[in-house]
Symmetry: C2
Subunit: 341 residues, 2 copies
Amino acid sequence: MSTRTIRNMEEFAAVSGISRPTVSKYFHDPESVRASTRAQIEAAIEKYDYRPNLYAMNQNRKLTKNVGIVVPLLTDPYFAEIARKLERHCIEAGYHPTLFSSHGDPAHETDVLNSLRAIRPAGVLLAPLGRASDRGALERFCADVPTLLFDSNVGELGLAFVGSDNIQFTAHITDYLCRTGEPPCFFEMKRPTNPNAHRRRQSYLDAMAEFGHEPHVISVEGDGWDFEEIGRLGGHTAFSEGLFPTNSILCSNDRLAIGLLTACYEKGVTVGRGPDCAVRVAGQDGHPHSRYTCPPLTTISHAYDAVSKAASDALFAAINGEVTPWSSTRLEGRLILRDSA
Amino acid sequence: MSTRTIRNMEEFAAVSGISRPTVSKYFHDPESVRASTRAQIEAAIEKYDYRPNLYAMNQNRKLTKNVGIVVPLLTDPYFAEIARKLERHCIEAGYHPTLFSSHGDPAHETDVLNSLRAIRPAGVLLAPLGRASDRGALERFCADVPTLLFDSNVGELGLAFVGSDNIQFTAHITDYLCRTGEPPCFFEMKRPTNPNAHRRRQSYLDAMAEFGHEPHVISVEGDGWDFEEIGRLGGHTAFSEGLFPTNSILCSNDRLAIGLLTACYEKGVTVGRGPDCAVRVAGQDGHPHSRYTCPPLTTISHAYDAVSKAASDALFAAINGEVTPWSSTRLEGRLILRDSA
DNA sequence: ACAAAAATTTATCGCGCGTAAACTATTTGC
DNA sequence: GCAAATAGTTTACGCGCGATAAATTTTTGT
C-alpha cells in the first residue's frame, strides 16, 4: 500500500492535516474538537491505523484512563463473573480496566496494590480479602488512589462501599426455610475467610430469635479459600458426629453448600424437599454453579448486575470530581428456589 | 520523617550516592552492577521506597517486561486456574503479567489483541478461542508479537504450541471405560466451540475401532460457552428420545458432563459404577469442580502444572532470543477415578 | 605494585507525547 | 456585516527515563 507507517503523533498530524496539539486534544477527548476536524482526524486514523503510544500518553497525562479491578480469588466463578461485568462497564465508560486477583493471600493482595500504584490508575474497584487484609496497606492505598470497595467492606475505607445486604440475604432465606419446613441450622467455617460470613451468622441468629426458634450453628474446621473441600470434610464430620439437630441446613455460602452436597452424596444422605429426603440444604450467593449441583441448589443470589453497575458508576462519578461523603450501598438478594430446599 | 519524597531517578541517584546511568542499569538488571553498588542502591530503595516510573521506563526500553495472558473465558474455572499458574510463573521469572479474557467472543478476542499491542508486551501466552477466532487477526498479531499458543492450537501460529494430548486423553479414558463396563458412547456438542472437541471425537472413534466396538456419537444442539446448560438440555433430550445406546457416556468435556449429571438427576437417572446405577458418566479435563459433583466425576485431567510450566518456559526462552523451529508439545493426561464411572 | 579489565561517572541526546502561551483563522450571534 | 467567541496553529518546553561515548575510577590478576 502507499500508506507508509506512521511513527508518532507528529507524523500523524502531518498526514491528517491537523496540528499535533489539536490531534493530542482529540485523543484526550474526541468531543473537544470541531466536528469537521474530528472527521478529518478519524479519516486519517482509519487510513493509517495510528494509535498514540500508550506509555508516552500515560507518562504525561495528569490522569490515566486505567482502572484496576481487584478480587480476592479469580478462580472462584462468583468473583470471575462480577469482575467480568465490572470490566464491561469500564470499557463502556471509556476506561482501560486491568484485572487482578489476590489469590486468597493477604501478602499477594498487598503486592497487587503496589503493582497498581505503578500504573497510576484513575481509580480502583477493590474487593478486599476482608479480615485477612493488611489493613494498614489498604488504608495507605486508599489514601493515595481513588478506590471503591465492593463485595466486602473493611471499615469506612475508600470512596464508598457497594455490595450485598447480607443481613437481608440470611434473614430472607432463613424465613423461607422456617416457613417451608423445619427451622434451619447454620453451617459455616469456624474461622471464616471473609467478613460477610460474620454478618450472615448474626443475621441467622437474629432471624431465628425473631421467629421464636432455637438457633444452631455448626462451625467447621478449615482455613483458606478451598471452601468446597472445607464444606465436604466438615459435612462428613458433622454427619458422623450427629451435629445437625434439624433436617434443614443453611450454609454460609454456596461453595460451602456445594461441598456439603458432596458429603451428603458420599454419606448416602438424600437431599431435597421431597418427603423421602433426609435433609434440605440451602446456600447463599447465587453462585454460577449452583444451578448444576445435584440437586440444584436453593440459594439467595447477589444482584450481580445492580452491584457491578452501582460500583462502577460510583467510581466513575468520583473520578469525574463528584465529591460525596463515604457511603455504604447494600443491595438486596433474590431468592432462587430449586430442589435442594 | 526526614526522608523527603523522591521525584525521579535523578533525585534517587543523588540520595543513593550512585550515578543515574548506573541506577538505571540496576533497575534493568540488578545483577549487572557490582555487589557493593547494588547494596547501596537497595539500601536507598528501602529507605526512600523509590520505584522508577513504569511509563517512562516502558516508553524507552527496547523491550518491556510485560507478558499478556489471554484465555477464552476467565469465568471458566479451568481457564482461571491455568491462568493463575501462568501468572505465577511470569512473576517468578521477573515479568509483569496482565490477564485478559476473550469472553468467548471472537470480536472481543481481536479487541484484546489490539489492547495487547498497545502495551508492547515482550511476549504473549494465548489460548485462542479456536475455530471461532479471527484467523487473520491472529496471524497478524503473531507476526508482530512473540506469541505462544496454549490449550488449543490454531494452525502453526506463533512460536510454538503447548497443550494437552487430546488424542491420548480420549483414548485412555475410552480404554478405561471399555475395560470396566459397557463401551461408552460419546456425548458432545454438534457445533463444538473449541477445536479440541474434534480431536477428542476422532480419538473416540479410533479407540472404539481399535477395541472392536461400534462407536456412538450423540451430538447435541447449542452454541456458545454455556456448556453446563447445553449438556443439561442435551441430556434431557437424549434421555427422552432414548439416544444413549449404552449405559456408559463419555462426555467431550467436564462442563458438558456436569450439565449431563444435572439432567440425570432431574430425570431420576442414577449415575455411578455400582450395579444399581443406570448409567456411568465420565468427563474430560480434570475441571476444578469435577471433584464436587454428585457423584464425583471420573475424568482425565490436564497436567495443569506441566502445561503451564512448559508454556511459560518456552515463551521466556523465545524472549531471551533462543530461536527454535515451531513445535507442538502435547502432554498426557492423568485418569482420575471417581464414583461417576 | 603494575597493567589490563571491569565498573562507574559525566555529559548529552532522544523517545513520544502533554501542555501552555501567543497568535491567527473560523464561526457565531445579532 | 461586524465584533465577539470559539477553534486551531505555532512555538517552545517539560516529563522521566534509556542509551551511548568518552573520561575516570576501581578492581583483578599476577
